[in-house]
Symmetry: C2
Subunit: 302 residues, 2 copies
């Protein structure tokens, strides 16, 4: 079963305590699509400029990503520059140029409209709603958002939340959106706003999943070096939705395993700049780290 | 098998966003002993003033804590006052009076010297070493410490670490003691300093255990209200050592289960001021929350 993702494609200048990267391929839709492509075919709807390199388009296609929904516009691809602190949970945005992304309007082709697994990466909630309006019969809709939309576009975001199945946001966003400091109360409030499940991404502390019936916690994989945290949350989303699309198992156990696959993919992507680590990744490496996650968390394990 | 704990007994004035408590029974040895008493008999070595209430002595005895090693000195019991921020990971010390604890020297009776399970709660590492010097043949030694000793008494702390089996400290202390920011590298450095296992306590984010062979991660129990975090780490230590003494199982699986029992006890103690929550706690409640931890972390669970 294929997955449709709608979101941003950017180039990123990234500086971390471990080094720098210039014009690394990035954007939420890109990280998501490349991660998901390890599990299922991916359809990607986004906008890039006419500066977008042929080789990156080829890379996406080689990964099984359908780029027919990638609108190539006259102008430059979006650009972000950021610098991480020694404590890499903190970063400063040095530059942000939306470029062709400023006028992005998602338009789905007939083959996109029948998508069953859909992920609305972090963009204006009005655009996210426009995507849903065009879908025939999606079976599972995941959604991300960010501080900017929570504070500036709440009137657009709240009706959207009633239409999505899984909301995946970070802990700071969960607190802001819910108005609750305690993360359990925050999640309960978010569930009451519409989604059936809320995934709270906590960076190096892992992920908490809340449904009305249960809570699931998975740690982040303990890494000796986090090289670049950019895109970790979107990569998590790609692994999560990818595994759901591959397995078709949306039971509690199926969702839990998908959360672990999302965590596996996120643990890889932070090991190098941008999504470089995913370029050489194999399925065997993904499966090996999944088993390491099982061992890491198994109370009765040895 | 009984457990020997050496450490502090204090009274605490505590202020959190949820309220205040005056002269709550506290101190690392107290939290540890009460938590451990749910699993095994506990021998407690500490110093209190002649103001220490009869009813608290009775409470400890009723919990199966051998208080024959509690030195009652002329003067006042140690006192600490602190205020937690809205973000309860942060707190300010408002007052600290060591009182009779200033001259505390651990002296073990013959029945204490044969202890097999020993926990050196956070006190001057010279005193912790004095305890070890008096032991006949301990089979498992756990140890805690804090920032103050790491910076001011490193020359005493380092030889001590070569004599302990399990070091249980928080993430900030692990970074300070190891000089490594990354928590995996920090733990590896700490293992090289002597302990066979390092437990890194991360408050609301749970615990990481490192041995040379493996890593185990357990989340904190997601609570709707954390009322008072005081003593959570010491309570964790009590549940951990208590379960080890009860089961006698120090295999990897046995250690992991003990870490979960420690987390269970810590999750209870923060639900009320001081150690009030433990006063009415039953074994059935402990076992129920253990099962909830299994469900919380089980990747294949439903």
């Amino acid at each position: 079963m294929s997955i449709l993702v709608v979101g941003s494609v950017f180039f990123d200048d990234i500086e971390t305590p471990h080094g720098k990267a210039a014009r690394a391929l990035g954007g939420a839709a890109t990280y998501f699509a490349v991660a998901a492509s390890f599990f299922a075919p991916v359809q990607m709807v986004a906008a890039v400029g006419d500066d977008f390199p042929r080789e990156e388009m080829d890379f996406l296609a080689q990964r099984g990503v359908d780029v027919s929904g990638l609108q190539v516009r006259s102008g430059r691809t979006g650009f972000w520059a950021g610098r991480y602190h020694e404590d890499m949970n903190r970063r400063d945005t040095l530059d942000l140029q939306l470029n062709v992304f400023a006028d992005f309007r998602p338009e789905l082709s007939p083959s996109h409209r029948t998508a069953e697994y859909v992920f609305l990466a972090n963009i204006d909630p009005r655009l996210q709603s426009m995507v849903l309006d065009q879908l025939a019969a999606p079976s599972l809709i995941g959604c991300d958002t960010m501080n900017h939309w929570i504070t500036e576009s709440r009137a657009d975001l709240e009706p959207l939340l009633q239409r999505v199945h899984v909301l995946a946001i970070n802990d700071e966003e969960a607190r802001l959106l819910s108005g609750e400091q305690n993360i359990v109360l925050a999640a309960r409030r978010l569930l009451a706003m519409g989604p059936k499940r809320v995934l709270i991404k906590r960076g190096e502390y892992g992920v908490l999943q809340f449904s009305p019936e249960s809570i699931f916690a998975v740690p982040a994989f303990p890494l000796e070096q986090v090289f670049d945290p950019t895109g970790a949350g979107d990569t998590f989303g790609g692994g999560f939705m990818g595994q759901l699309a591959r397995s078709g198992d949306t039971s509690e156990a199926g969702i839990r395993r998908a959360i672990v696959y999302g965590s596996v993919m996120a643990s890889f992507v932070v090991e190098d700049f941008g999504l470089n680590r995913l370029r050489g990744l194999t399925h065997a490496m993904v499966d090996q780290r999944y088993r390491q996650f099982v061992s890491l968390t198994d109370i009765d394990g040895a």
